[in-house]
Symmetry: C2
Subunit: 135 residues, 2 copies
DNA sequence: GTAATTGCAAAAATTTTGCCTCATA
DNA sequence: TATGAGGCAAAATTTTTGCAATTAC
């Protein structure tokens, strides 16, 4: 990231942030693109990607790597954890129960430790119901 | 996954497992492909992907979604955490300092909680040295 | 012998990028 | 008006898949 860069607030960028602010489902880039297109039909997917990249770098949004094949995004609100359904891939927010101890890790690894993502995984209520029907 | 499926141990599959057993660097599919090709020059990348998928399903290896753009893999040994370098993307193992409390999460979310991945991130010793040279 | 597995190649899915034009600051 | 940003399309990257031939059990 070029720290001497000055960023402009375009209508595209504004609407992308807006969509993320209103989303609580951690959408993928393509889903964000679909939603933004309702307001800006001529926006391109490339623009969405470029903006998501910039918005993450300036700390306005966060990237979540959930299933490994594609990124998800969320607006940067207070710190929290995620729980992901191993069946349907949906992600929900969780409040933080226990923050991991960053100090020990630094000594142990030699890393300059910045943080820690905790991702819980399991089967969501909706998928639990589905598997009951099958069984 | 088809539970009635019976799996065969082909030489391709055996060597892929072997490569992962000997790797401590959480390689990507392509890197595994490169390594396996030294022993089986005619193996295809598709075969590697299909095997990684199966080996993960039977619990012999684990997937790690680190940077979100591509998967990494490791042999299933004892439980541990990971620390990822935000500069170079390398991943190292960490012993588990504090296991997160799974019980609370289940009550809180309604999920049938299976587990939790903790991924620490920061700057690895090698990248710390690099940035000192630049500054 | 049978069905799982392979190699090959094509396709799919996701993300990045070049280039020229437009618009924000 | 200078340069960051957008639109479009092509390319790059990673992963998946169809199919005929092969191989493990």
């Amino acid at each position: 990231m070029d720290l001497n860069q000055t960023y402009r607030m375009t209508k595209q960028r504004k609407i992308i942030v807006d969509v993320l602010k209103k989303s609580n489902d951690h959408p993928t880039a393509d889903l964000i693109y679909q939603k933004v297109r309702r307001k800006l039909p001529r926006i391109s997917l490339g623009t969405v990607y470029r903006n998501l990249e910039i918005l993450e770098q300036i700390g306005m949004i966060r990237k979540i790597n959930s299933d490994g094949t594609r990124m998800r995004f969320e607006f940067s609100s207070e710190e929290h954890n995620h729980i992901r359904c191993t069946e349907c891939g949906s992600i929900e927010d969780l409040k933080i129960d226990c923050a991991p101890p960053l100090g020990n890790i630094s000594e142990e690894s030699g890393y300059e430790v910045i943080g820690c993502d905790q991702e819980y995984y399991g089967i969501c209520p909706s998928c639990q119901k589905k598997s009951q029907k099958i069984a």
